[in-house]
Subunit: 306 residues, 5 copies
Amino acid sequence: MPPAPDIRIPLDVPSEEQERYRENYRTITHGTGRLMLFAGDQKVEHLNDDFYGEGIHPDDADPEHLFRIASRARIGVFATQLGMIARYGEDYRDVPYLVKLNSKTNLVGTTQRDPLSSELHLVRQVVDLRDRTGLAILGVGYTIYLGSEYEPMMLFQAAQIVNNAHANGLTTVLWMYPRGKAVKDERDPHLIAGAAGVAATLGSDFVKVNPPKAGGTMDAALLREAAAAGGRTGVVCAGGSHADAPEFLQQLHDQIHVGGTVGNATGRNIHQRPLDEAVRFCNAISAITLDDAGVAEAVGIYEGGK
Amino acid sequence: MPPAPDIRIPLDVPSEEQERYRENYRTITHGTGRLMLFAGDQKVEHLNDDFYGEGIHPDDADPEHLFRIASRARIGVFATQLGMIARYGEDYRDVPYLVKLNSKTNLVGTTQRDPLSSELHLVRQVVDLRDRTGLAILGVGYTIYLGSEYEPMMLFQAAQIVNNAHANGLTTVLWMYPRGKAVKDERDPHLIAGAAGVAATLGSDFVKVNPPKAGGTMDAALLREAAAAGGRTGVVCAGGSHADAPEFLQQLHDQIHVGGTVGNATGRNIHQRPLDEAVRFCNAISAITLDDAGVAEAVGIYEGGK
Amino acid sequence: MPPAPDIRIPLDVPSEEQERYRENYRTITHGTGRLMLFAGDQKVEHLNDDFYGEGIHPDDADPEHLFRIASRARIGVFATQLGMIARYGEDYRDVPYLVKLNSKTNLVGTTQRDPLSSELHLVRQVVDLRDRTGLAILGVGYTIYLGSEYEPMMLFQAAQIVNNAHANGLTTVLWMYPRGKAVKDERDPHLIAGAAGVAATLGSDFVKVNPPKAGGTMDAALLREAAAAGGRTGVVCAGGSHADAPEFLQQLHDQIHVGGTVGNATGRNIHQRPLDEAVRFCNAISAITLDDAGVAEAVGIYEGGK
Amino acid sequence: MPPAPDIRIPLDVPSEEQERYRENYRTITHGTGRLMLFAGDQKVEHLNDDFYGEGIHPDDADPEHLFRIASRARIGVFATQLGMIARYGEDYRDVPYLVKLNSKTNLVGTTQRDPLSSELHLVRQVVDLRDRTGLAILGVGYTIYLGSEYEPMMLFQAAQIVNNAHANGLTTVLWMYPRGKAVKDERDPHLIAGAAGVAATLGSDFVKVNPPKAGGTMDAALLREAAAAGGRTGVVCAGGSHADAPEFLQQLHDQIHVGGTVGNATGRNIHQRPLDEAVRFCNAISAITLDDAGVAEAVGIYEGGK
Amino acid sequence: MPPAPDIRIPLDVPSEEQERYRENYRTITHGTGRLMLFAGDQKVEHLNDDFYGEGIHPDDADPEHLFRIASRARIGVFATQLGMIARYGEDYRDVPYLVKLNSKTNLVGTTQRDPLSSELHLVRQVVDLRDRTGLAILGVGYTIYLGSEYEPMMLFQAAQIVNNAHANGLTTVLWMYPRGKAVKDERDPHLIAGAAGVAATLGSDFVKVNPPKAGGTMDAALLREAAAAGGRTGVVCAGGSHADAPEFLQQLHDQIHVGGTVGNATGRNIHQRPLDEAVRFCNAISAITLDDAGVAEAVGIYEGGK
């Protein structure tokens, strides 16, 4: 298990919200400073591609599948849109939520127009929902497409969201993706490190990046530059492949122990599996992320032992 | 008659508005969870094409025709713009209304510019009208063109509208249409399922989709993917053809009992008929939607028996 | 004289403003339901083209000419911009005013860019001026270019203006002009009927359209479709030609008695004449519009008898 | 000396601000209704081109040169940006100021993109500065590029500024310049008259136009159409040439006595001279504008007699 | 040491904030009127290019390196984004901060689209952070790309920021860079002087410009025009080369004593060095800027003597 770090409370959290922020941070990291984020925002991002079709278990066709996994598995936080939480949250009050504040579909490609993902809900609406319902809404998330011609609008919204979220004791995760006509190689390690650095300047608690590649090949060591550039903003990374579970878990282990990341953000690799398997896969991921388990131990958890 | 479902109140309805929301939902679904939406927003969407010309009864030339039908027929809710309700509502206080909040004309085609349909009225203005007049304004509606270059603006407005409507005890219907240069096949079942899923992430009560086609042919079974993807957001569908009434009613029956939809949104097929016939046609639709009547029974209602 | 109709107060007029709305409506229609609108907003729309040059009387070079006519003639309402009223209104307190809220010049043509006419003043500012000065500001007007790529912005502003105007007891007139690259025939009767229908959905009291043509020829009967489509929103029409006065008055008579319009909006045809003649021409128009006078009688008024 | 006109207070000046407006108007016109505007906004409009280089006296390199002139010379009002007043105003409390509210550089040419000059400061900020400091801030100014594709935005900002300025007792000057791809001849007298008319519809106290030309030649008589079109909005004009002083003063005299303007707006022709000469040149201009002095007398003032 | 100037408080600083402004100004200039600005905003502007790679010391990979330098060295003010201050400021309470309010990445080049750098945080949020935490946040900064097609938006934001900053007792620095398709030579001395003049019209305390070149060659004397054009807005300049330290210090000395600037803004040249060397280099710069030290003395400080 990783050493429990002191929690540093950023200065944009006012004193009356510091205890809440501390608890939120402790909860989503299980007191470890590491984050296991279960990503469930793809119903907009990828429409129904991730939920129905060959190689996807029928359980995944129902949006409630995401909540069932989030409720039964050991996760840090479940990221999804506010509307989903409003509609299912009453039946899943035990889930730790992070509201993904922007989303776009994949219909308009970069060759047609540079990507813009605009805010759907305001931090104020998230706070209202939290305060009225008592749901465990612990953070908010936002995607920035660096290098898009709409970068200025997304940088502004992100900066405001981090500031407003902290003002209300919420933690933040920024999804930083270089994308647009100006971006030649979205997986360039140096560019991804730059993206992590931008998240640091925006004051986010965590930044989610895609795994960098050199010469088309992933290598966890390529993440070190990003981990350094993020500074106190922890870098979390997608497993990044549809590989089989052991390979996925090995990559995750390497990202943390070689690359210096502090966790993962995983969606499809989890929810495209049937419920029980998805839960076990979450638990395997969490064992590596939160307990410093080895890969073999994690594979054992996934395969059904415990 | 379909089983009366428990009404699930979404969490963005505050406690002081929950009773109103419950009653609104019960009223528009006649306690069945099914929705018969009489669509009367085409005076903007199609200008006068749907109201005057060959094959359209002269009754339809007068906007009041819509209100006469809505008043005499058995419907769930009548959807039209706020200005229409303001001008005719006093004489039709018995009609259950849903305010369609955005509309655009059909003049600018997709080849010229991707579609944008912007908000005309604010939820606050709908609530003011409801509260001052006591009219039965029970919900609001909004159209999103997924895949348009203006998708971000419409997603934002829709998300805000659902949130604000629920905050005021109003129900919501989103018209989800994939459209724009990036959309190759607007009727693709997988894409329509994705659109239903987006409505779910926005927390809408209902989503209206066009009937999907495979190889150019409609088949109610193609709706199953969308019905699943919508989750707790009920899918309603247009009858989708200018076919004769029995064929229309058979399609509707199939959509519900084969495709898994929870109702229909029908406009032109109703109001282009003379008043008495339009009323009987509404009632036939409602018999299928709300009473689980068979097609033969519904045709009988349409043809004048009762 | 036309039968004095009951005044239907739209529901977006709150109870505390209903008496004011009723009086405003009665005043601008002289209790007849018919509207004689003297249009004086062309100093922006046509720059100085309508006020100076061959065939235009020198009286028209001075903006005050408009006020002199409005003050001495029998009109329903004088439409001009707020700034004009602010500067001349003190000397013309007897004039019934309608504030035209948007205007654009004719410099940028449709081949260069689709038309956008944006709000200049807010309804709130009109109400402030009315309430502080006691001027007879009885309504507001706004132009929409249907089919322009900027249609969404103008539909939104128009919807808001009607709603806000009614909330303050003001009447409304929408100028509805199909225009833009997507519009093949601005005078198509079916398209103009559609435009009248849009004004109805926005809840306006009156809609001003251009006279439709079929095969390049005007015919008052072509207005019937628009008059029907407008429903409770009364259609007013430009005389539409620079023809001599008797021909103009015959056209107006036909528009009302054949086409079903409820009045006219006339500008250049009035103010390009010297003051006395302009006043007599106004009075002739009003005789037809407000008194159901015949054309011969109206021509007599214009020619100086009374 | 011209007859002291009655001051007409526009109706958008509320009663509690009428005395202030009257005093401001009287001050900037020296009680004559004529305006001598010393224009000092070119540090944005022309960058350093007007302040440094061949034929420009070194005094002009320092921004304070403008304030020194404004303080020592007889002027109506000194127009410059708010930031300049904030930084030098304490040392030049005797200067009558007009805040130029928008400005753009000359870098992006019309062939690249139509001109847009956006508001820099809000009327509210001008009023705050005036009220807190007691500076003689007597009016505000704004430039509109008629015929630009951005005309709607500038018309809106200008209309709001005039309304808000009058609401706070401030006088207004609009710089009206036809410019953009759609404008073939910026100096066309008929077009400039149209521009003056637009300023009238916006309710401005004064409008500044460039001197019109016919066949490439200036002629003061060409201004008569604009003077008429402006109505109660007084037309002021640039001297319009880098000609020698006597020629400049002759043109100004003609503009007033032949063209019907009520004054001038002059910048470079004043401040590119050394301080003493600039002061004498201002005084010469003021003698013509405010005292109805002849050209010979004015030249005498400029040349140092008094 | 330069003479301690009287501090001129601009008039947009209200009386209740004048003492704070005076102290802030005195602190960032060490009472000299000269400014040594340590620029640390490049994590957005240049992504990770300035922090990792050949010729950059590994210390620079960690964002905290910037704070360590700012804390140990003698500087006027450390400029960085709000998010960075929120996350590290608690551990570096002794640092004098200036919040850089806008930033953009270098991904989208000018050939693709003219530069736009939009506000990230509002002055209000800076003031909240200052007032709640007691951090020494003494000023704000903003970049304008003059000549960009987005110039109007940046001029507006900058004008508002200066006004709001002064209203809260904060000092201001504007980074003025001519850039965009319309700009042929970003280093043209006349153009840079124009840019300094624009900052003066916006009322900024300081303006940062790039060192001008003539015929591709830098020469401190070329700055004189800009220093004059800035007037009471002090011009600070980048050292502008990756030259060795003595050459850099000589250039800085010349900028001040030949070019008439009042200081420098330096980033990469400092933080790409290891911590101790970076601190000594800062101190050498400060010796020239704040103490009027000679180049040899400054080189001695850099090389380790004191």
